[in-house]
């Protein structure tokens, strides 16, 4: 690793820390209802939307109605996306005449984009028309991110209100998230990306004769507008098959740097928003610190592993699956960030990373996507772990556990456990099933422990709503499209419903004022406890699976064994 690489990594984190309060403060203004600078720009549109759907934004609902609204809205999004893929051939903006998508692939992709996973069993440039990419996928990139923010807002309201059953208005939450947070950032970012060389047009694919005289078909399309939101909304679904390693999605080191920053930007800012809204900026920064520590530790391990010599390739820099313009450091930084943040876009092929670097990406996902995590979902996932930590700490000292002045009781802990276990069960049970079935094993690209890791990574990515992959696994089959699709549904809604239930229950409780005996959630002791609980509760369950995947592969590689 060169000194220049280190400077870049440090700059990355300095910018991340610096932008967090700026954007976080703005987002809190949007949702508290204060004046902000986007109000004159899109305020009229917000009012127009409410008038058209005949909803008063101040009319709030209880958690059950909030959940039903969310589920129905997501179901509509799913249905629309599913249908336009099945009917692609008959729809406009299909200059290369791509045919209809198979029903199981359409099911998988629709679930994938609605759940903010953006797992892709298909290859964009040879499967989907501009119509589906734009009117189907780009829309869900926005709406799934907005859904995540909405759930976080509902949870926040549940924590700061008392003696009520109202946790907000879902329609107003997604409208504000989209119009004031996601859309302005995306427009700006998309244009900057085109300035670096990301394409944005509606032309037909260009067939050229290369210098050597071969034919090459150069794909086209409205890529920049989708790349911007897929990075900002922690979606990650590429316009092209090879995602952000494709020169048309990520042409320069500068575009690469911005795309990496965009992955963490909103999830990091939301920790500040959270602190501000629950009345303790210190608590917001505490949560941020926990995430940052986990991210940096993972990054350090991953960089060390990728730069280490091994008996198979000696000191040869490991450039398989990596682009010359990015090199190793940028590829590893991206792989760590994208897996931590539930984004899932890639600028290097994770399947070809060294075993331990691949494992760090996998572990980031398995921990529940709470190291910054998805937009909204990362932080509400983290709050689940905070509730568990407060509960465990309370048990240790023999006091009723409290969080932000609210008593944590049996119901909340049960819900928290359901949320964590539903994802873990989905990962492990589906992986086990695929590992012993012919349908699962026939799709591998690598043998030995690495082949097992391909399966484990696929289901972790699906249930963790990440979307990155060990892409050697040929997952566009009946078996994988369906199992991964259900994995994504369990991982998304098996988490959201318990979180909203907690929000509803918490809203009804009274707030006890802080006293000397209150267990503090804004100091180093709490940071250590929270990291401990995340690693033990979230991580330990996967230890056996990791042992027979990347851990053993690393040991065998060190002894020069190949498969």
């Amino acid at each position: 690793m060169k000194a220049q690489d280190l400077v870049e990594v440090v700059l990355f984190f300095v910018l991340l820390i610096g932008l967090t309060p700026i954007l976080g403060n703005y987002i809190s203004k949007v949702f508290i209802g204060n004046k902000h600078f986007m109000l004159p720009v899109f305020g009229w549109l917000e009012k127009l939307i409410y008038r058209f759907i005949k909803v008063y934004p101040d009319e709030e609902t209880n958690w059950v109605s909030y959940t039903i609204n969310l589920l129905v809205f997501n179901l509509i999004g799913f249905g629309f996306l599913f249908l336009i893929q099945l009917l692609q051939k008959y729809l406009p903006m299909n200059p290369v005449n791509l045919s209809n998508v198979s029903w199981h692939s359409a099911f998988n992709s629709s679930v994938s984009f609605v759940t903010n996973t953006n797992w892709q069993g298909y290859a964009g440039e040879t499967t989907l028309s501009y119509f589906v990419q734009m009117i189907g996928l780009t829309v869900q990139n926005f709406l799934s991110a907005a859904t995540g923010i909405a759930v976080l807002l509902a949870l926040m309201r549940g924590l700061i209100r008392k003696n009520t059953d109202k946790i907000g208005n879902f329609w107003s939450d997604i409208t504000k998230s989209t119009l004031y947070v996601l859309l302005p950032l995306s427009i700006l970012f998309a244009i900057v990306l085109v300035g670096q060389g990301v394409i944005q047009n509606f032309k037909a694919y260009e067939t050229v004769q290369t210098l050597q005289g071969a034919q090459q078909v150069i794909p086209m399309g409205p890529a920049a507008s989708q790349v911007a939101i897929k990075q900002l909304g922690t979606n990650g679904g590429g316009f092209f098959n090879s995602n952000s390693s494709h020169p048309f999605e990520n042409p320069t080191p500068f575009s690469n740097f911005l795309e990496m920053l965009a992955i963490l930007l909103i999830p990091a800012a939301l920790t500040f928003t959270y602190g501000k809204m629950v009345g303790s900026s210190r608590h917001g920064w505490t949560v941020f610190t926990v995430m940052l520590i986990l991210l940096i530790v993972g990054l350090s391990i991953s960089l060390t592993a990728e730069y280490s010599a091994n008996p198979i390739f000696g000191h040869l820099p490991l450039m398989e699956g990596k682009e010359t313009r990015f090199g190793i450091t940028n590829s590893i930084l991206w792989s760590t960030v994208t897996s931590a943040a539930s984004n899932g876009s890639v600028n290097a092929m994770h399947d070809s990373l060294s075993p331990i670097s691949g494992m760090i990406a996998l572990l980031n996902i398995m921990l529940g996507e709470i190291i910054f995590g998805g937009v909204g979902s990362g932080l509400y996932g983290m709050v689940i772990f905070i509730i568990l930590t407060v509960f465990i700490a309370g048990l240790m000292v023999g006091r009723t556990p409290e969080y932000l002045g609210k008593k944590i009781e049996a119901f909340e802990v049960q819900m928290a456990i359901i949320a964590i276990l539903s994802t873990s069960f989905a990962i492990l049970l589906f992986t086990a099933w695929a590992s012993v079935s012919k349908a699962g094993l026939s799709c591998l690209n690598n043998s030995g422990p690495h082949g097992f890791t391909e399966i484990l990574y696929a289901f972790s990515s699906a249930a963790g709503n990440n979307g990155s992959s060990f892409a050697g696994l040929n997952a566009n089959t009946f078996f994988y499209n369906l199992t991964l699709g259900f994995g994504m549904l369990i991982g998304r809604f098996g988490y959201i419903i318990p979180v909203l239930a907690i929000a509803g229950k918490m809203a009804g409780k009274k707030i006890t004022p802080l006293s000397a005996g209150t267990f503090r959630t804004d100091n180093w002791l709490f940071i250590c406890l929270l990291i401990g609980v995340i690693l033990i509760v979230g991580g330990l369950i996967f230890f056996p699976a990791l042992s027979i995947g990347p851990v053993i592969e690393n040991l065998l590689m060190k002894s020069g064994m190949t498969f």
């Binding site: 290859a123 090459q216 098959n241 990596k322 590689m557």
Partner: protein, 197 residues
């Protein structure tokens, strides 16, 4: 029932806003500010398109600088990498094969280490770059194949230096050189010499 109607209505509105207006707005702005980049940074020879400066092309003949190995042979439909893990014996065989081929092809000094991007395939399969070191190792072979004199060889070396891209803003990314652009320079050099003769 109310939920269903509201859902459908708001979904349609957002489809129009984020699925139609947003991409069209970005397209209009992009096509005005950066028309060439928005359309794929295409390179024209006369009025014929011969490629994109961002999309690598396959080069494996003696008269051109070779591009990186590619799992898809530089056919972008669709893009992708090999996805081989490090313990995959197929990857190890491929690397050895490429190493032997590079040595036989370019006859470099026996002590030299071949830059690793020439032995490993890229993630997109369309990587347009190689390192300047990898280009320098090929100069001898190319000037021989093109019967270049010393003066022309000097011009080739100058082109490599001139076309080498430094890390962006001095700290982002790696030192690299665009193979297609470099090979176009080579052709220009040959054309000129033909005219002079």
């Amino acid at each position: 029932m109310k939920t269903l109607i509201v859902s459908i209505k708001i979904f349609l509105l957002f489809t129009v806003i984020t699925g139609i207006i947003y991409p069209l707005l970005v397209t209009v702005i992009a096509q005005n500010l950066f028309p060439s980049k928005a359309n794929g940074s295409l390179i024209f020879k006369g009025n014929k398109v011969i490629g994109s400066r961002l999309i690598g092309q396959k080069f494996d003949t003696t008269i051109y600088f070779s591009s990186r190995p590619s799992a898809i042979s530089y056919n972008p439909m669709p893009s992708g990498g090999s996805n081989y893990g490090l313990t995959n014996v197929r990857l190890i065989n491929l690397v050895n094969e490429r190493k032997n081929k590079f040595i036989a092809f370019n006859q470099p000094d026996s002590l030299i280490t071949i830059p690793s991007e020439m032995l490993f395939a890229s993630g997109s399969g369309l990587d347009p770059h190689i390192s300047p070191e990898a280009a320098l190792l090929q100069v001898e072979r190319i000037t021989n194949a093109r019967h270049f004199d010393d003066n022309q060889k000097k011009r080739v070396l100058q082109s490599i230096e001139y076309l080498t891209e430094k890390p962006q803003l001095s700290i982002l990314g790696e030192v690299r050189i665009n193979v297609l652009i470099l090979n176009l320079e080579l052709d220009k050099l040959s054309d000129k010499s033909r005219v002079n003769k």
